[in-house]
């Protein structure tokens, strides 16, 4: 699948005519794959929940908050109390890092994704 990019924006999707898998073919979802990329609903900043709503937070604070909270939980309830859902939409490298993060970070195997659904 090829993306047509104009001035930093994806404007169209094209089939890759040399791909051994697609062989120049796309389904309707493939042809539309660029349409959600620049959707106005895209998340653009880390958000933290305050009461019932979300507030923007810096990356630095977001990462240390996450690390701190998970560490607290692991200390209080044991590493087994932390788990993660990795993603069938993310890359191999991201999935590898995700399972490594859970396994090496919390000494458990509570990692899964939606393969069965």
């Amino acid at each position: 699948m090829l993306l047509k990019v104009v001035d930093g924006r994806v404007v169209d999707t094209l089939p890759d005519r040399e791909s051994v898998v697609g062989n120049g073919h796309l389904c309707i979802k493939g042809w539309s794959a660029h349409e959600f990329v620049h959707h106005p609903d895209r998340l653009t900043h880390p958000l933290v929940k305050k009461g019932d709503s979300f507030e923007q937070i810096s990356w630095e604070d977001a990462i240390s908050l996450a690390a701190e909270k998970f560490r607290e939980i692991a200390e209080q309830y044991g590493g087994d109390a932390v788990g993660g859902f990795s993603s069938a939409k993310c890359t191999n490298e991201e999935n590898y890092l995700f399972q490594k993060l859970i396994r090496a970070g919390f000494q458990n195997n509570n990692v899964d994704h939606c393969a069965r659904l």
Binding site: P15, R17, E18, L26, C27, I28, W31
Partner: protein, 285 residues
Amino acid sequence: MKTEQAMIDQAKSLLKKLLRDGEVTAAFGLARVTGDVTAPRIFTTPEEVDSLVLEPKWPLAKPAMEILRTAPEGYRLAVVCRGCDERALFELIKRNQVDADALVTVGIACSEEQARACLCDRPYPSKLDIGEAVHGVDPLDDPGVKYLLEGDTHTRMGRWTRVLKRCIKCYGCRNSCPICVCDPCKLEGEPWVRRGIIPTEILSFHLIRAFHLADTCVACGACQEACPAGIPLVTLQHAMRRALREGFGYEAGLDVKEKTPILFDFTQAPEKNQPVPDWINTLRD
């Protein structure tokens, strides 16, 4: 027959010269973009042209039109064109989708092998700059085409239904077609086509498309190549093109000035008792 490399070299020097002499603002063709991936690309400097390639066949008329549509005043684009690309661009000029003054075609010839694969009867553009023209093939001699166009109505309907009901409504035929430019597109919804179901209704979806293109299809085959279900969509158009050729002596895409006879004859009431072409009888029961 020139080797592919010789053709690429010649195309590169031609495009570079056009850019260097300021004849065009940019050139458009295929390129090796990253590593081993080939994709259409706009070349704005002679140096960029070094990544130009000519294969595989990749329909460029529609993306060229899209570039020209949003181009500023005075923008001129050189487009590497096969025969079908040139004919499609001519049709787009006729329909006021492309400004002829903004376009410089650089014509390349297809090989005999490519002509056979595409069932192309004219595998070269009228303005040929690179390569040598080879003989085409008559698509109506192809056994696959004959199979779908011959036989009585019932037989043909059965054969067509069998392939058309494979449609997954990806709109790939419309998206790839250099001539499909209507906005909004009639295929996208009510009352013409029921949304959200596949296979889509054969008569409304496929025949609307076929008739919309009847006098403008240049038989480039982009629709068929894009079809994941392998529906022989160009075959419908081979029949249409034959009707126009035999009924009106007209062929889409050959002459940028010649308007479609269908559109123009409809401005006057048709003459009574016009002879019906002989081949039409073969389509009857």
